[in-house]
Symmetry: C2
Subunit: 282 residues, 2 copies
């Protein structure tokens, strides 16, 4: 595995490989990698000739009061994990933008609710950095975790709207042994906060089970979930269409339950799929 810090060197190699007929795979990350990221490398690996991972803690997607300066970092551990999961090139730019960078990419609508309400500039920062990274890495395939499900939907929309010829794939959310959704931010949690944070996925799983048993009314499902979540500050619990993220009043097709809550100063998110029983099964 090679480590590269120069953005234009990555682009030169990507274009040369594409010209030789190679397929380029890409997994962009903010580092402090865990088994969730590794599962994305594993998912991309069989379908590409050259697998690029990037690590860049993107200032544009952090709000002024968020944890940019404290975001956890482990470059040596990250490099070892990338190498062990078949990454060919690890792109770690110290700087990614020109000093007079002035272009922003924004997706409207999909970014209004859920995490977009509490983090108003977040998704514009995500789409801008991903557009630039796509330009540099020139991927045929890019894989993003379903842990950040709204982000995945927003990136799919950007790719469709700007006609980027990229196959955007979602990787299933990976949970720790105790069920907590893997996140680099879990490193911030004390044992006690972590114990209380388990209420997040337990609430989502209870809603998933209730829905599968025939409770398709969104108000009833949300009431069930609200009764189970223990947090220090609650951002949202919502049920939305799985594709366009529109709010639902009843689960009649593919849907998703989303939650975000704070534990101490750490904000955690989680989500699960919801499906009503089919007519045959019900």
């Amino acid at each position: 595995m090679r480590i590269e810090t120069d953005p234009l060197a990555v682009q030169r190699e990507a274009l040369a490989r594409r010209a030789r007929g190679q397929r380029v795979g890409f997994v962009p990350t903010m580092g402090f990698l865990h088994d969730g990221h590794a599962s994305l490398f594993d998912q991309a690996r069989p379908d590409c000739d050259w697998l690029v991972a990037s690590i860049y803690v993107n200032p544009l997607q952090f709000g002024p009061t968020e944890d940019l300066a404290q975001y956890p970092r482990d470059p040596d551990g990250d490099a070892a994990r990338c190498a062990a999961h078949g990454v060919d090139l690890l792109f770690m730019p110290p700087l990614l933008y020109d000093a007079d960078h002035s272009t922003q990419v924004r997706v409207d609508g999909l970014t209004d609710g859920l995490c977009g309400r509490d983090r108003p500039t977040h998704f514009q920062g995500v789409t801008t950095v991903v557009a630039r990274l796509f330009g540099l890495v020139q991927p045929h395939i890019a894989v993003f975790g379903e842990k950040d499900y709204q982000q995945l939907a927003v990136i799919r929309r950007m790719v469709r709207d700007l006609a980027m010829p990229i196959d955007v794939r979602g990787g299933p959310l990976v949970r720790d042994h105790d069920g907590l959704a893997l996140s680099s931010r879990n490193a911030y949690l004390s044992p006690d906060l972590r114990r209380r944070a388990l209420s997040l996925h337990r609430a989502l799983f209870a809603m998933q089970a209730a829905c599968a048993s025939g409770e398709t009314d969104v108000s009833a499902l949300l009431a069930l979930g609200h009764g189970l979540i223990d947090s220090d500050g609650f951002d949202y619990l919502e049920i939305r269409d799985a594709t366009d993220l529109r709010p639902l009043t009843a689960v009649t097709g593919p849907a998703r339950a989303f939650t975000a809550a704070r534990y101490g100063r750490t904000r955690l998110i989680d989500n699960v799929s919801l499906a009503a029983p089919t007519a045959e099964a019900g």
Copy 2:
């Protein structure tokens, strides 16, 4: 020459040609083509294997009170002109955006003054459509006229910031026999309005000559120009740096004079390069 209306068919062919090692050239237009557009086709032609021109009157770049519905159209004449100037594929999509298109690309700073002041949403519409067209056409080379000099600077910035691997080239402004900058909107002008509109380029040329003779003070050059322009409504006359478009107080390096003015209901723009005499020559 082939005419194609389906955006994704254009992208499929572009990707297939790139995979075979062909170089793709692209000139996006809004149609009603004139010799200025033809000069862009001629400029791109020798440096590409496959030359694509597009005609799309992009609603996103027109303000609510502008001439979208009246914008002149001549599809048959346009096709003949493209064929005569070596265009291989003329892309004429009836619709370019999905019904739920929700992505916008915005360049800040460069779009604040000049045409950006009078047309506040114009450049966001331009960068959004050009980003989508670049995604579809996958060009190695794209040529834009220096008639829309600010647009060219904005597109260069977008391409740099989003790391699009595209060589963006400017084509020199082409003038009619009487000196008026060629524009599809010249079709709106009565003979009398046209005669008065000639004051635009005459003022710019007078400023250019004064600068070449040693008058480098911007206020003096602007006073000269203002005294020569006859219009029904004056939008701006400015001198700016030729690359980053920052306002100047003196011409010390490559600079450009820009003007926009209205004749009847028609808004015209023009620009010329300014250069002070060199130390050797002065």
